[in-house]
């Protein structure tokens, strides 16, 4: 892995650690309303200032990071698992199963992502889990497509034929012989996807469809800051910078992994 990949992995780990250790770092409760210090600009008491309810922005930023990164990683993991399972079965079984599963995948991929995620998250009661489910429900399809393609090419290699002639069952071939071969590919994709999920999650909570107030997320912090943009512009910068930095790191990491494993996903990106 190149320097950029290592740096971004380090930065991601650092951001994640900071947000987990948030209570140790900032003395303020992220949701504690302090009416004596409304909309204060950054100072030594409040490093990044306070928001419209007197809550410490730095505290909210770190606590929000836990949720934003957590949701994205979890969603990447869930969609990777579903995508692996569907891709494996579809690619190995072929025939009607393959046609049916891939039609479903095509159907999902033909919807605009954000629109579909909005659609799913309004069906569910608003909250952290519904965002995660929405992201996974939309995201697994591209994993499945990728894995299926990989399985199709793996199936032709002699070791699968050898396994079959030794009397391995279909499920054993899939789990023991094919699955491990797909893991690197799936991980690369998950890295790239997590970067996109950060943005979609932020978009959803910006629209008020994510974690509900008073819980802080980066997207909802930007959403709040929007109202006070002319009077309290310091509220705008921190959450956006965090989203951008995290997404950049995920993307660079994905790129680095892609180069390392020499993977090409369907989009050529």
């Amino acid at each position: 892995m190149g320097l950029a990949g290592k740096l971004s992995l380090g930065a991601l780990a650092f951001i994640f650690l900071l947000s987990i250790a948030a209570p140790l770092i900032v003395p303020y409760d992220p949701n504690a309303i302090d009416l004596d210090s409304l909309r204060q600009s950054p100072s030594t008491r409040h490093l990044l200032g306070t928001d419209n309810k007197g809550r410490d922005i730095f505290a909210r930023l770190l606590h929000g990071g836990k949720i934003s990164i957590g949701i994205s990683l979890l969603a990447a993991l869930v969609s990777m698992t579903i995508g692996l399972a569907v891709g494996l079965v579809s690619g190995y079984a072929g025939g009607k199963t393959d046609t049916a599963l891939m039609s479903l995948v095509d159907l999902i991929l033909s919807f605009p992502t954000l629109l579909l995620a909005i659609g799913v998250s309004i069906v569910l009661p608003a909250g952290i889990y519904s965002v995660m489910i929405a992201l996974s429900a939309v995201g697994w399809a591209s994993f499945a497509r990728l894995i299926r393609g990989h399985i199709l090419s793996l199936k032709e290699i002699a070791f699968i034929e050898a396994a079959r002639s030794l009397g391995c069952t279909g499920s054993r071939i899939m789990i023991v012989h094919l699955l491990p071969q797909c893991i690197p590919l799936a991980l690369v994709m998950a890295g790239l996807k997590a970067g996109g999920y950060i943005l979609t999650e932020a978009g959803l909570s910006f629209l008020g469809l994510g974690a509900q107030p008073p819980t802080a997320t980066w997207g909802s912090m930007i959403s709040t800051s929007r109202v006070f943009i002319s009077s309290a512009s310091w509220m705008v910068f921190p959450p956006g910078i965090m989203i951008a930095v995290t997404a950049v790191c995920f993307n660079l990491l994905g790129d680095a992994l892609k180069e390392k494993y020499d993977v090409r996903d369907g989009k050529g990106l």
């Binding site: 033909s110 954000l114 512009s233 956006g240």
Partner: protein
């Protein structure tokens, strides 16, 4: 179908929580919420077949009429963004590939990775902060002429610009190593000629797909941009529908958004057919 079954009662958001049960019951009957899910769905499909999308629960206007008013606005925004993104994206992608590994390439790559990582609703706010609130050059929000269009169009163009830079760079680098490029150079064609005719022409074929897909995704990425800049388009309309749980509006927008998406995919496939002779020969697409 799904959106019909969701929690969050539109009737409550219409009349507020304190109204009498009789009024609620009356409105329920009016919008058909007292019927079962299956009958509601059947009713909706019947409407669709008649070329109708129902009426908004709140304004009482026909959803299809509203969409006809707002869609051109969204279209204008999407076109303006593409006019910014496409030439710049191709130019910088090409430049980056030509200077592969050099300083220029690094800088462009850094910007393009940032471009796909910065949320549009944030970059929009920053542009608004600097150009409207600090420098007072452009109006912060509203729908209207050029001065209103500029900021949302730039905001919306950024992610597409970055994607185009990335894809153009990859394609040009791939093609630069092909034997026929060496042949062209050996024949004594000028560097500019090789670049324009041999490299760029071939590299642009996949770029068409990306432009098409990005254009289609504008019509949903626009949800965020339109909300921020108060642009009176489909995206904001959908958003208002979602907040008020105005189901006919939500369904209508989802439907139109998806139709546009499918339609643009179709157009891209047709363009491909003309742009790339190989597709015609094999007849199997990409």
């Amino acid at each position: 179908m799904l959106t019909k079954a969701l929690p969050g009662d539109p009737v409550y958001s219409m009349v507020g929580e304190r109204s009498s049960p009789e009024i609620i019951e009356k409105i329920r009957k009016e919008i058909g919420a007292d019927k079962g899910v299956v009958r509601q769905y059947a009713g909706y499909v019947t409407l669709l077949v008649q070329g109708e999308l129902g009426r908004s629960y709140f304004t009482g206007r026909k959803v299809i009429d509203d969409i006809c008013v707002k869609f051109p606005n969204t279209m204008r925004l999407a076109c303006a963004s593409m006019i910014i993104a496409a030439p710049l994206g191709i130019f910088f992608g090409f430049l980056s590939a030509k200077k592969r590994g050099k300083f220029t390439d690094r800088v462009i790559t850094l910007f393009s990775v940032s471009g796909i990582s910065v949320p549009v609703f944030w970059s929009g706010l920053l542009l608004m902060l600097f150009f409207s609130l600090r420098m007072r050059l452009l109006p912060p929000s509203g729908t209207g002429g050029m001065q209103y269009l500029l900021l949302p169009a730039i905001t919306l163009s950024l992610p597409a610009l970055a994607t185009l830079v990335r894809i153009t760079r990859v394609m040009v680098i791939d093609i630069m190593d092909m034997p026929y490029i060496r042949t062209a150079r050996a024949k004594g064609i000028t560097e500019a000629g090789v670049s324009m005719v041999h490299i760029l022409k071939n590299a642009l074929i996949p770029v068409i797909t990306v432009i098409g897909l990005e254009f289609a995704s504008y019509l949903n990425g626009a949800v965020l941009t339109e909300t921020i800049f108060g642009w009176d388009g489909i995206g904001r309309y959908a958003m208002e529908g979602i907040i008020k749980r105005d189901y006919p509006v939500i369904m209508g927008c989802l439907l139109v958004g998806t139709l546009v998406f499918v339609f643009i995919n179709l157009i891209v496939d047709v363009i491909y057919h003309y742009a790339d002779p190989r597709v015609r020969v094999h007849g199997t697409g990409r």
